[in-house]
Amino acid sequence: MKKIIATLIIALCVAGTAMAQDELSFERKQAIDSLALEKVRDLSKYVKIVGSKDTPFSEANRVIDRAEELFMSDAEIGVSSVNSNKITYYRVRKYFEHLMRLNYDRVEIEWYNIEYVSDLQRQPDGTYVGVITIFQTFRGYDKEGNLVYKDTTKKDITVYVRRKETQIGGRTIGFWDVLLGDMRVKETTDR
């Protein structure tokens, strides 16, 4: 009987410790929330750089490499138009290559209202998953400087944050790996 009680106590202690390790403090959770949001803001800058006709080809390709590193390997990005109901999904590199080749003389892309619509929640496998929404205005100009296309798109980006470890300089570094998943088009308007 004593053995059973002792075993139960040990099991409860182990479970308690495991749960305690799972629970992130407010400060740490806030830090990973901010980190994920920052990755999306970084992406917005990459979109702007690649979309700009002033960006040299080599620079754009380097930026595409960096942008690709932000995403999960199978992630897709949705593209919509006010002229069609069709939404096309591209792999990340294809999306950026498509963006680089858009047939406008000048392109302006702005992202705003970048915020969580679904907070990062811990999944059974330890991954934190959340959804961040962004609004994107796109303006395309012809060579005379006339605005020939404009839309505003609301997009949802799924964010995955995982705790990982790596060896650097002979010591183990624990880091949070933020990866973006699919970027889904939710709404497109001509405003």
Binding site: A31, K45, F175, D177
Partner: protein, 211 residues
Amino acid sequence: MKSRITSIVMVLLAVFVTIGGTTSCKSKKQLAKEAAEAEYKSKVEQAVQDLNAILNDETQWSLEEKEARVKTIKDWNLQNAEVDDLLIQAEKKLARERAQKEEEERRAAAERENAKTMDVMLNDSFNGIIRAGSISQANRTINETLGLFESPNVPVLIIISQSQGVNDYDRPTTIENYLNYLKDQKKLTEKINNIKYNSNGKINELELIKK
């Protein structure tokens, strides 16, 4: 007759007192001598023990405490061959330790100064990159900055939070990618937390922390 007897008694008394006093005086001197000898012996033993402990690194004393102990023993002026020999050895050893400590302190001060200088230089470079007026200007600053590093692949660690003794990092990157990140994003949201150097004085690890 009576007075003669009295005289004899007085003389005898004087003799007894004199003899008794001399004996008592001798005994006190003997005791004092013995005490001095015992104290000397104890000091010699203590000195030999302490000096051997210093010579064999068997003490927890700081260098200053060891130096003070040697000085005290020297001041005792025990004039003992063994102690004198140990004192010479201990003084030489402590002189070496003192020189080594001062060298370490000089090196640490130089490293602190170097780190401070490097800190300022890196911050200037980072700000130069984010404020560059053109891509080519930013690239020039990036190339100059890379010269401070062992290679473009030197790891850059970014602390995103420090809580309950745990450092949480962002995904590690390389210095080349970090500098290009500054160029692309045109923002500096980190400050330098730690710099590690190789034997050639080039940076081989950089740790940043979110502001």
